[in-house]
Amino acid sequence: MVDRIPSGTRDFLPDEMRELRAMTDRMRAVFERAGYGEVYTPALEYEATFTRAHLDWGPTARPAYRVFDEHGNVLVLRSDMTVPIARLVATRYHDAEPPLRFCYFAHAYRGVRPQRGQSREFLQAGIELIGAESPDGTVEVLTVLCDALDAAGLQTYRVGLGDAALYPALLDRLNIQDQERRERILTELANGDFVGLQDEIGALGIDDEDARLLLEVPQARGGPEVLQALSDPLQHAVTGMRAVHTLLAPEVADRIIFDLGLVRGLGYYTGAVFQVYDPAHGVPIGIGGRYDELLGHFGRPLPAVGFSLNVERMHIALTSEERRK
């Protein structure tokens, strides 16, 4: 008889472990060198820690596993590391002088949809920079991100850079205030349904030029020319992205793809958002961004920015890159 393991989980054997370990060791060295000390938090947290900020986790990233402890408290398996680190900063470092820099290599736990190759348990590698404003903090984190990806051995990766506040600002500017409509528009956008987006925009009854703007802006992606092409009123909304870009070292700036459609990643992102792509892999291998309001929910209001990389997906991308050579 064969004992099974739950779908979405798996065993790791020595050959794979050696390669994963070598990759994470190289990344850890990058993080440490940049001043990001490694932390570890419990895999189990009180549910209240994860529900406190009333975040919109989207369908995939919300905590999926709950257990009762011996006192009847509800515990959850963490679905990400940013929230536990926000808690850690507010409690262990409540009077420490910012900025604070932490890195982590830790598993997160999420629900899966059947037959999709998703993982219930997966290793994340990431950093959090607490107490550093935009653009300087964002620039530092993007630089460490690229250093870590370089150290991991990835060569063809790109980092998409967008701004969670851009599209809402555009809706404000066009005076679209109906909350229900805004939510529907943002949902179509988050789903990547541009046909549905066009229908929703068509139903607004705004003039053609404004409608075109709402449809075209989120599909704009590419080099700095993407920002140049925007009309004047929108220039103000991308000053943040532009400021970040001008401060980046050339080798980091070359990795950036401006992506105005990158509007919502995880619920806590407030400003810059980024996603890491590799042409050798069909899904993003990492995500990051600014979360300037999250720490406030834990009683230590500080601006913050960070990223997390999916180590297994990086490994898949790395092996695919090697095959393509």
Binding site: D193, R221, P279, G282, V283
Partner: protein, 208 residues
């Protein structure tokens, strides 16, 4: 077509899709001449069942794909970009039952639940959930029209273009659930990393 790989559905959308690709400047001669071959490297075309198109595109095994909205509705959790309504392959997802007195409504009234056969279990489940009716969904893989004629189910949820198949089997459409057309979909990573090639294609499409 440069370095883009596009997933083309065999079946009802096949010919219209090849015609569209011809007009976009993608040579489909090879595809038309080889009925069994699946991968056409030089043209950047792979062919498959329509319901497999989202699978290939989501995984990045194809950058772009063409499939029906009905397929996308059934696989709505896939992480894809839906770029363009291609405006062909028009059809409607309907609830149909045998002509005359509606046996599904009768079952719902007297038994509290109706049995519905379909190839689209998720779309059907969602529809009855949203309209507040209890339905037992029976999934079948083909010839759905047989189900209400043999007592397997009281009604079906299926796709119809002209209504001819329904009529021939003595069925009538009772409700329209969704309209469907062919859609151009993209892998989100390809959409970023191959932006220029994809946008060039969209521009040619727009100009037609």
């Amino acid at each position: 077509m440069s370095d883009l790989r596009i997933a083309v559905p065999r079946g009802a959308l096949f010919t219209s899709t090849l015609d569209l690709l011809d007009r976009l400047g993608v040579s489909t001669k090879d595809v038309r001449e080889n009925d069994r071959k699946l991968l056409f490297e030089s043209a950047g075309i792979i062919t498959m069942r329509p319901s497999d198109v989202p699978t290939y595109v989501e995984a990045g095994a194809a950058d772009l794909g063409i499939t029906g909205k009905d397929v996308l509705l059934e696989q709505s959790e896939r992480e894809l970009y839906e770029l363009v309504d291609l405006d062909y392959g028009h059809c409607t997802m309907v609830l149909a039952t045998v002509a005359g007195k509606d046996p599904a409504a009768e079952a719902l009234r007297r038994l509290g639940v109706m049995r519905i056969a379909t190839k689209y279990p998720r779309t059907a489940t969602r529809h009855f959930l949203e309209t507040g009716r209890q339905a037992e969904i029976v999934e079948v893989k083909g010839s759905v029209e047989l189900a209400p004629l043999t007592g397997l189910a009281e009604g079906i949820v299926d796709l119809t273009a002209s209504g001819a198949t329904l009529r021939e089997n003595g069925l009538v459409a009772r409700e329209e659930i969704a309209r469907s057309t062919a859609r151009l979909i993209a892998n989100p990573v390809s959409h970023k990393l191959k932006a220029r090639a994809i946008d060039a294609l969209l521009e040619r499409l727009d100009a037609m």
